[in-house]
Symmetry: C2
């Protein structure tokens, strides 16, 4: 059954791999499933056709026969449940890996999203400079704990799982801020994620679409 | 096997049911599982003993024999997977319910958390009054879509599911702000959640611990 995902026609990050379709591409590569991509402009994301499969008018979505899903965490979980490679078989280990999926998205990502909002959408506000350190400290409060938990381990819970896939993806959003490099073990952890062949393929696939020079390369 | 969760010794919300243990209590009541509660002070949440089961030093946690979990979404999902009542059996409907769990926690809750932070932790900042409308509009951007999707339906996807349990819980955090009442169908949806006998039992159980007058009642 053909799997089709949606992605930005042109990601605002210019190919850094931070748009959420990269997380889904990575999961698809980890479980070895081929997929097709339907690219959407910002305008197309708010049309009734797209809102029918993504109520919040975003990307990515996931279509596979009669099933249509949105929400990255859910798509990654669906792939992890249907195919081997992203969740351990042992009942307790599986529940712990799922715990890390939710921790990435509901505990670690929210302050990181807030930092992104502060840096991008409130950069021109009179409070921007004074407020930014507060927001960064909220991110550090999470990373202090995450770093202490991870210690010298390779992954969050024994083998690489969907929990690591999402946690690495969330932490990647911090690289530009410099905060990730304050935590040597977390920076190395993210590096291990990026070194996985499946991540490299996912990154390359989105880069081919989003890189700033891709249209001029095609045109040259 | 005995299930033990943790909760605040005294919730900062004074018994409004907004602390996350209420979500877990609600799920336990929906699936008909008895549970015990271990109450923790703020100090106890940061001890090595508690950090060993919750790396971010928060509540709630979930212990059941050899299994120890944190992260509300994960605990609710574990209960939904192990017991009937919170996830449909049909494969596609189940995946959609899980999608709404993630949507509640990763798409709708982050701007609501940001509003809570702005109202509580930045209330004394010079930018507070000018910035608050921006933050509220980010919440409304999500609710506009959610309200349009829900329309006149009773629940997000046919029967009540863990997705509704988390979405109602997330939206409840907005009641004090008045924003929920701007969306008649969402306010009614939250009301339907609160009317469920399982929610009422969960609310009462946390209220008995957290209500402002509970110690004086005990003492009188």
């Amino acid at each position: 059954m053909t799997i089709t995902i949606t992605a930005f026609e042109r990601s605002p990050d210019g190919g850094k791999g931070l748009a959420r379709d990269t997380r889904v591409r990575w999961a698809l590569e980890e479980v070895g499933q081929p997929y097709e991509v339907r690219l959407l402009s910002f305008g197309e994301m708010k049309t009734p056709d797209h809102l029918a499969i993504h109520p919040f008018g975003q990307i990515p979505t996931y279509e596979e026969g009669s099933l249509s899903l949105f929400e990255t965490g859910s798509i990654v979980f669906h792939l992890a449940e249907q195919h081997a490679g992203l969740l351990p078989r042992d009942r307790d280990a599986r529940a712990r890996a799922i715990t890390w999926m939710f921790a990435a998205l509901n505990t670690v990502e929210p302050p990181i999203l807030e930092l992104t909002t502060a840096r991008i959408f409130e950069a021109d506000k009179p409070w921007s400079e004074e407020r930014l350190p507060l927001v960064k400290d909220r991110v550090r409060a999470r990373l202090d704990r995450l770093s202490a938990y991870l210690g010298g381990a390779e992954w969050l819970d024994d083998a690489f799982s969907a929990g690591d896939l999402l946690m690495v993806s969330v932490l990647l959003r911090l690289r530009m801020s410099g905060i990730l490099d304050e935590y040597q073990n977390l920076a190395a952890y993210v590096g291990r994620g990026e070194s996985r062949p499946a991540y490299a393929r996912a990154f390359a696939a989105q880069f081919a679409i989003n890189a700033p020079s891709s249209s001029s390369i095609i045109g040259s």
